[in-house]
């Protein structure tokens, strides 16, 4: 199972890539896309929307199920991945790269410490 070491993770099988400017990119992990199967729709929030840590900020729908996306950290949406509107299958094909879901501005740096690193997440993503 592919779990890039340079990313942060959550127990909800999402990843965060911390950028230098106080922003981060969020997506779902390889494990998550694999369990969901064919993704047919991603509901994205609007730029400027604010979410508390733990709040649902969108939905990933596969043929089999609808699955909420949870904001790992207090954040404001910078942009959603508009490519997913026409090609949600990018989340299946490239969960850690082209299939990214939102870019956020981190509102509370102190919460970063609560995220999982790749080693810890690998324990959770074991079947």
């Amino acid at each position: 199972m592919n779990i890039p070491p340079n990313l942060k993770y959550t127990k909800d099988h999402e990843w965060l890539k911390l950028l230098d400017n106080g922003e981060a990119i969020i997506g779902i992990t390889e494990f998550a896309q694999e369990s969901l199967g064919d993704i047919t729709f991603v509901e994205l929030p609007e730029a400027g929307d604010r979410f508390d840590s733990g709040a649902s900020f969108g939905v990933v729908e596969s043929v089999k199920a609808a699955s909420d996306l949870y904001m790992p950290i207090d954040a404001e949406i910078v942009e959603g991945n508009a490519e997913l509107e026409d090609a949600p299958e990018k989340v299946n094909q490239s969960a850690f790269e082209e299939g990214w879901i939102v870019k956020i501005k981190i509102l509370d740096d102190s919460q970063i410490a609560g995220l999982l690193d790749a080693t810890l997440y690998a324990e959770i993503a074991k079947d």
């Binding site: 064919d38 047919t40 089999k64």
Partner: protein, 364 residues
């Protein structure tokens, strides 16, 4: 929790990457690689489905035909030997016990194929209706594995494995013959809207038969397909599924299945009076099919709204890979048939665009 039952192809499925789920008490592959890819491959080449969980019962004896005409809505008396017929089995009140296929082997010898989730109930129901008929009903589900080979290349693949003349085997006919050396009932039927066959085979022969089909089929683009694509294929084709479009409390009048109900057949049948009455008065509810206008799947159970008031519920919902759009069916009040219908998707209203099934051109 009782143990899940396994089909004779369990090892075949598991070793080839089938992702197993609980379906009606059976451990079945929902997918192998991808539901959408399996769907597309079945429409473009072929898919091989293990549907051994389906039930079978034999109905035999001098009154076999009369018995089936009494318990089923379609006309059994006019069937020829070698013919397959789709029929409903109804309760007195007109609701549906099950939908099934009838295989006529001889005037006194039939095989019926039942939904897995209903087999036990069906067999008990049928046995309870036997009195007065010189007929015998035996649950023979354990005698058969069932493989469905479906798609535009299905017959070409099969022709490489059998000497049976498939060209003269018409849609909804069956014959008995060897496939890859294994004795089979070869039925020109299916649940996808594509050309194809369903093969009844002894459990001990099932895995070798499946391997042989894979050997010939894979070079022609055939894939192994699971229950996930079986469902999206049948919904795209506009076929009803028990527990969704038909149910104990959804009658054939409501489900647009009156073509399977033969009021004019000679025999009286269970449910006839109720169905005649409902047809005369007009059904209170109807099954409709819809396109969602987007890729977002509207799932079974979602309330259907007219001017924000509930007038029904979604009974099936999936993604159509051919249309690149979500599709589904719903049970709605007959008074709302012409209304603008919508569903609430987490606070967002989505319109349902009524569409006559099938959603695609069928080529069975």
């Amino acid at each position: 929790m009782s143990e899940l039952r396994r089909t004779p192809l369990h090892n075949f499925n598991a070793t080839r990457g089938g992702r197993m789920v609980d379906f009606a008490g059976w451990e079945m592959p929902v997918q192998f690689a991808s539901i959408v890819e399996e769907h597309r491959s079945t429409r473009s080449a072929a898919g091989l489905f293990d549907v051994s969980h389906m039930g079978e019962a034999s109905v035999s004896g001098p009154d076999a035909t009369a018995f089936l005409d009494y318990v089923l809505t379609n006309d059994i008396s006019t069937m020829k030997s070698g013919r397959v017929l789709y029929s409903l089995m109804c309760y007195e009140h007109g609701g549906v016990v099950d939908d099934l296929l009838v295989y006529k082997k001889a005037d006194d010898d039939y095989l019926i194929c039942l939904n897995a989730s209903n087999t036990e109930k069906d067999v008990a129901w049928l046995k309870s209706k036997l009195s007065g008929f010189d007929a015998k009903l035996v649950d023979v589900s354990d005698d058969f594995a069932l493989l469905a080979l479906q798609g535009p290349k299905a017959l070409e693949i099969l022709s490489g494995l059998t000497s049976v003349d498939l060209g003269s085997l018409n849609y909804y006919w069956f014959t008995e013959g060897g496939v890859a050396g294994k004795p089979c009932i070869i039925s020109r039927t299916g649940y996808t809207g594509e050309q194809g066959v369903e093969l009844f085979v002894a459990p001990r022969d099932a895995a070798e038969l499946a391997e042989a089909i894979v050997g010939v089929g894979e070079p022609l683009g055939m894939v192994l397909a699971g229950l996930g694509s079986r469902d999206s294929l049948r919904l795209e084709a506009g076929y009803s599924l028990y527990g969704h479009e038909i149910e104990e409390d959804i009658s054939p009048v409501q489900a647009n299945l009156m073509w399977t109900v033969k009021f004019k057949k000679a025999a009286d049948f269970i449910g006839k009076a109720a169905l005649l009455e409902e047809k005369a008065v007009g059904p209170k509810r109807k099954i409709i099919f819809f396109k969602a206008g987007s890729r977002r799947i509207i799932r079974s159970g979602a309330p259907v709204l007219e001017n924000s008031e509930p007038v029904g519920k979604v009974v099936s919902g999936t993604f159509s890979p051919v249309l690149n759009e979500a599709i589904g069916s719903a049970l709605i009040d007959a008074t709302s048939l012409k209304a603008e219908l919508s569903v609430d998707m987490r606070g967002k209203s989505m319109r349902l665009f009524q569409s006559r099934p099938p959603f695609i051109e069928l080529n069975p």
